[in-house]
Symmetry: C2
Subunit: 166 residues, 2 copies
Amino acid sequence: MTAEEGKERFIQSWGALGSSWGINRTMAQIHALLLISSEPLCAEDIMEELMISRGNANMNIRALIDWGLVHKVLKQGERKEFFMAVKDMWEVVKNIIIQRKKRELEPMLKVLDEISNVESTDEASENFLQVIRDIKLFSNKADATLDSLVKSDSNWFVGTFMKMIK
Amino acid sequence: MTAEEGKERFIQSWGALGSSWGINRTMAQIHALLLISSEPLCAEDIMEELMISRGNANMNIRALIDWGLVHKVLKQGERKEFFMAVKDMWEVVKNIIIQRKKRELEPMLKVLDEISNVESTDEASENFLQVIRDIKLFSNKADATLDSLVKSDSNWFVGTFMKMIK
DNA sequence: TTGTTTTTTCAGTAATTGTTGAAACTTCTT
DNA sequence: AAGAAGTTTCAACAATTACTGAAAAAACAA
């Protein structure tokens, strides 16, 4: 396999992985492309490499910046913007956790709180409340755990965690 | 909020949550419905409650069984099948981890292995290889960590983990 | 074996989600 | 201020994904 084929393969796989996690294919592919690029790329580079339109490129680049996975880079003497991916994997995963927690886990916790105020009348609604309480308990633990995880450093994950739980 | 409204709310939210994680809305809604039901339900119950077709119900119930999130229950004297969700949240999350690891993480590890065999010719492909190696290292750690997590028990998660990493 | 009930499959269709491309906007330069 | 370079927006369109409903298959009963 040549380097060129390897890159192509990686971009495709990363795109497919994104897809199955609710991240659109193109956004994941742009991320992959920037990850493996040694130089910051501009919108045109990305459009050309992935054969996508300007609008598509722009929207997905903004989304990546929004997720904290890509940074804007200004080259002196150049007017246009260049983009560079955060390459530290721990940083990448941390940012994804932070964003998804905020966008998905926290709203769910809010809903669970609201729901757990229903008055239990019969056996069926008693069961309902019990399930909601369990999920709430579990979600709160997960929330707290993710907070700690995000605060801890890469070394901790790569080095210590496995010994602790083995 | 009445119990009925609460249930409705929960089913909708769980469906939306599923959506943003690459799980189809209906599958997540069926899961929600079974979670909060005190009795096992049959296909017709589910079709009626969620206003979906028989085909849709059937396919998504099978998928839930496939993921280990729902079990088939046979009531004596009844010919048709009934379904019951696994209600222990730890068990639910564990099964989801097992499945997604198998379906997504492991194939990605395979791809990374293949890719990391490209010969490095120039500076650009050297950078490429370095990124791939980093991702591989990180993914292997994640893989091992998830294995341990799945082997550990609920109590560990709910009780001990947070103290350890604080 | 034949009829009845239940489950499964899948081609066609519907709904959702993602993409394009051109116009509007912004920023910079002279 | 006018033009050039670059960025953003979004209505129309395309691609993908999900759902339906009816027919086939399977499971069971008499």
